[in-house]
């Protein structure tokens, strides 16, 4: 039996910058601030960091972070592709490196000025080749259009309605209204606001789309043994998984037998296989919410309900505090900040430390997921 990931490592530090539509500092400066805040939270000196992980879409290279914060000799660094699908994998890669002795103190981070910077889909040069040649000339330009296509079909097949999508948007907004760091902290959402909002790509309206945010976050991972000596209560990485299903095509997953089952299903199978727990044991979930329809799809994928039942699952306040599965308790990408899902990881840590602004009583197990609809990843965290 080789090394196992199960509870072998823990997240011992988290850090973040403010979130805003526009922050004056550079992405590099924001990244350094978030990383240093996470190390300070853990009580670990920057010179002890010997591993880094981030997204391929991250602008600031580990070389820049390492020399700016004063890291020592770095022996593991990796980057994960597919935008928000890589969020949890950054932690998973560090956990694997630490569990196998490649490194001892890992830092994962994401810094992004998506609020004040350009919109990726406007870069026609980068976006037109494969698979863009099959989609973009026809005006399927943005991620919202690509996911809207799957959402329409999902609604058609399973009788899901805009009210179900509203349930998702509302749960996230309600949690953001409890979180002073959230961009939408002081802006409640009503059903009327949702139903009369402008369209972005029918059937998706403004409130079905995540925020455009400037901000950065980071977390620190060490071995379970070392975690016991850190400043904060350790949050263990109980299980971790990535998921790229057979014949998957990314966000335009239109060319296989079953486009409505995506990477979440693949990641989930591996995640639960490596865990002592199942979906029924999850106290709180941070599910990637770039768009509201990703929630019902992910609820099905991770096994909280059966195929086609994800929309109905959201009924009766199920996603609110006190419901069956409190969701995105910091406000998520829809209402706290959209930083490629990294704030879902840090919120999961807060829940298991007992320090969330929307604390689920006695939360001991938290599922965190990365972007569904692209090659994805997930973490099962426990206190």
């Amino acid at each position: 039996m080789g090394a196992t990931l199960k509870d072998a490592t823990a997240i011992v530090g988290i850090g973040q910058t403010p979130f805003a539509k526009h922050l004056p500092e550079s992405e590099k400066a924001l990244a350094c601030r978030a990383v240093l805040a996470a190390l300070d939270d853990a009580g670990i000196a920057p010179s002890e960091v010997d591993a880094f992980a981030s997204y391929t879409m991250e602008e600031t290279d580990e070389v820049e972070i390492a020399k700016a914060i004063g890291a020592g000799e770095v022996t593991h660094f990796s980057k994960v592709g597919y935008g928000g699908g890589g969020s949890c994998a950054t932690v998973a890669h560090l956990a694997a490196a630490i569990a196998t002795g490649q490194a001892s103190v890992g830092v994962a981070w994401r810094s992004r000025k998506r609020g004040s910077g350009p919109r990726p889909w406007k870069n026609t040069q980068a976006q037109l080749p494969t698979p863009g040649q099959w989609t973009r000339p026809f005006g399927l330009l943005r991620p919202a259009d690509e996911i809207g296509m799957l959402a329409r079909r999902y609604m058609h097949e399973y009788g899901a309605t805009r009210d179900h999508l509203f349930n998702v948007a509302l749960a996230c907004r309600n949690r953001a209204n409890q979180n002073p760091d959230a961009i939408m902290y002081d802006r409640p959402l009503t059903r009327e606001m949702y139903m009369t909002a402008r369209w972005i790509s029918e059937p998706l309206c403004l409130f079905d789309n995540c925020l455009e945010t400037d901000g950065a976050l980071a977390c620190v991972i060490v071995s379970a043994e070392r975690a016991r000596d850190c400043r904060q209560r350790p949050v263990y990485v109980h299980s971790a998984a990535q998921g790229l299903p057979a014949q998957h095509h990314g966000m335009v997953n239109y060319w296989n037998d079953d486009p409505l089952t995506g990477p979440a299903w693949t990641a989930a199978r591996h995640l639960w296989k490596g865990a002592d727990l199942g979906p029924q044991d999850v106290d709180v979930a941070q599910i990637y919410d770039a768009f509201t329809p990703l929630i019902p799809l992910s609820l099905e994928g991770y096994g909280f309900c059966g195929r086609g039942e994800g929309a109905a699952f959201t009924e009766g306040g199920a996603l609110e505090i006190g419901g069956r599965l409190p969701l995105n308790t910091g406000g998520g990408g829809l209402s706290e900040a959209y930083v490629h899902g990294f704030n879902l990881i840090t919120e999961g840590v807060k829940q298991l430390r007992g320090t969330s602004t929307a604390q689920v009583p006695d939360a001991a197990t938290c599922l965190v997921t990365a972007g569904e609809g692209v090659p994805t990843s997930a973490l099962l965290l426990r206190s």
Binding site: T124, Q125, L140, H249, Y254
Partner: protein
Amino acid sequence: MSTGEPARRSTRGTTRKTTDSTTRKAVAARKTADSRKAADARKTAGSPEPADASARESMAPDPPRATVTTIVTATTDNRPGTGGDLLLPVPDEDLLSPVPDEDGAPFWEYAARGELRVQTCTACDAPRFPPRPCCPHCQSFDSHWRRMSGRGRIWSYVRPHPPLLPAYAAQAPYNVILVELADAPRIRLVGNLVTAADAALDSVDPARLRIGAPVKVAFHTLPGGMTVPRWLLERP
């Protein structure tokens, strides 16, 4: 073309001036790269053919050869000011033209002849889309392009609203449909439902959009010269 068209034309003059030189430079750079590549290819093949041979070759009737377009792939989504937004493959007032990759090129060359064809494995007969070098079922590298009847059904659709690229914003809200091909049900082509091959993207009454509606293909040539499939209702 009908509705949105006059408005788009009227804005053309001013916007074009600002981007024209950049676009021209980009096109020139691409041409240089292409002709250099063609020259290199000739050197290897020892062929005395003129520089435009590759262009003629790509239009050869059968079998079509891939036209390789040089593409700069950005490694980031959010680096400000790299000018990616200015390097449009066609003038920015126009709809985007497909930029074929090597595997996809035959699809577009057949489309230019008014034929809808799908890459099919020669060894095991399985159709596949998007096109790729080898068959995911039997791993054979031999493929051909099977002609489709051009009939299908709407599997799903969206109606994009702004913010969009300018040429699309001018016709928004328009429809984008996903058509499940009658001859290859796992292959669903993204396209637009229109009242006629050359009609505007918003020409169909949105009330007519319906999952399951039978459609048939038509072909439209974009201002840049590329031909794309579009879709008409079987029962207009």
